[in-house]
């Protein structure tokens, strides 16, 4: 039986991201398509980062969630292009990240590897303002480009003195 695709999306919206369990796979924007191919449900997933160790686990969780809802034939397809971007994290997902203590990505600020821009930043120009997810202060500073996972950078709040993760834009 072919379940309505909207229902399948709702089911996937209940599957938590293994690394940040407060947001779902659909909040994260990594489910790119859901379709029926005759009796088989085809779910197209894009990886966040090429080396994301959660990818295998995510596929497993999608499969077990769908099986739990009675879907018998499932095929997972990997899609690399267009490459995942943090722009696809839903508005709701961003609120959940913030409530969890992770500053959500600031769209349009992905690294482009331009060292001219880097030199300007080192001189204190064009600094990215990341709001502290705990106290809302704008007085924050980057500790490291890479935080607890490749998708995050480590920041520190100069007002409440708490360290926090920033989900960096890619």
């Amino acid at each position: 039986m072919q379940v309505a695709l909207d229902t399948v999306w709702d089911w996937l919206g209940e599957v938590p991201d293994p690394e940040i369990p407060v947001i779902s796979l659909t909040d994260l924007g990594i489910i790119r398509d859901v379709a029926w191919d005759r009796e088989t449900l085809v779910v197209t997933v894009t990886p966040t980062y090429s080396g994301c160790p959660a990818t295998t686990l995510i596929n497993l969780e999608i499969e077990s969630a769908l099986r739990g809802h009675g879907v018998e034939h499932i095929r997972l397809e990997r899609q690399l292009s267009p490459a995942w971007t943090t722009d696809w994290i839903s508005a709701e997902g961003r609120e959940k990240l913030k409530a969890y203590g992770i500053a959500p990505p600031v769209d349009g600020t992905a690294a482009d590897g331009k060292t001219v821009a880097l030199a300007a930043r080192l001189l204190g120009q064009g600094n990215l303002v990341i709001e502290c997810p705990r106290c809302g202060s704008h007085e924050t500073e980057k500790v490291s480009q890479f935080g607890s996972t490749p998708c995050k950078a480590a920041y520190r709040c100069k007002s409440c003195l708490e360290p926090f993760d920033y989900f960096k834009c890619i």
Partner: protein, 258 residues
């Protein structure tokens, strides 16, 4: 790049893809050697994360190499079961880590090249190559920003950090020329519209390097002897030690999984 105009011998194409995948594999492995040993926790994490990105990219490049080759070899087969003479990484990346300055300088010199290479591969005539490049370049942009930032901070830092960074640059400089050496394989791939002639990437790379090294108050060495051979499988003894560790499990227990 123009669309594929000539057909490429699958063996040549796979060999070229292994150059991409072996560069990311060997550098990823070198970086992972720092795990638990870095001077500060944040840098330990940053290097492990960079290694993770590179190993992820390796799976994509070597996966495609196996597919193109058509002999049923997977990315894992290629990583764990080839001998040193079958590896195609440039010699710079198998250099021992040295101190933190050496590791960072190697990273910066490669990141600046890697970004230019991926930029060019984004318009590859083979969409499979273009999509891997499109994915990897987003990660590599962050690698370059971090390594350039630290090269500047340490070069333009204390007397000690400055002198270590200058030593690192002087030691590694003879290895960068290999990035830009074109051989028959590069030419065949360029003719097929799949990849750039590496020599064409040099000007943009040099611009980034000059700009960052100037800000780091480091002196760029002159052109001199170029160590090369890695792309053809002629390696230094260091690669053998890397493979002895990396391939141990699959060599000792063939086909082991968990």
């Amino acid at each position: 790049m123009t669309a594929a105009s000539t057909t490429l011998d699958p063996a040549v194409y796979a060999d070229w893809l292994m150059r991409l995948g072996d560069n990311t594999l060997i550098l990823g492995h070198r970086l992972s050697e720092w795990c638990g040993h870095s001077p500060v926790l944040e840098e330990d994490i940053a290097m492990a994360n960079t290694a993770l990105d590179l190993i992820g990219q390796t799976q994509l490049w070597l996966g495609l190499a196996g597919e193109v080759e058509g002999k049923g070899r997977t990315a894992d087969n290629l990583a764990y079961l080839r001998d040193a003479s079958r590896f195609r990484n440039v010699l710079l990346l198998e250099r021992p880590n040295g101190d933190f300055g050496q590791t960072l300088m190697r990273q910066f010199l490669f990141d600046a090249f890697h970004l230019e290479l991926l930029k060019s591969l984004q318009t590859s005539g083979d969409p499979r190559v273009a999509e891997i490049a499109g994915k990897a370049i987003k990660e590599v942009a962050y690698h370059l920003e971090r390594s350039a930032d630290l090269v500047i901070r340490l070069g333009d830092g204390t007397e000690e950090s400055h002198s270590r960074m200058q030593t690192a640059l002087d030691d590694l400089w003879p290895y960068v020329g290999e990035f830009f050496v074109s051989d028959d394989i590069d030419k065949a791939v360029a003719d097929a519209g799949i990849g750039p002639d590496p020599a064409d990437l040099k000007a943009a790379w040099r611009q980034t390097v000059d700009e960052v090294l100037r800000a780091a108050t480091l002196n760029v060495p002159g052109e001199g002897y170029v160590h090369k051979g890695g792309k053809r499988g002629i390696h230094t003894e260091h690669l053998g030690f890397i493979l002895a560790e990396m391939q141990f499990l699959q060599r000792a227990y063939p086909g082991a999984t968990w």
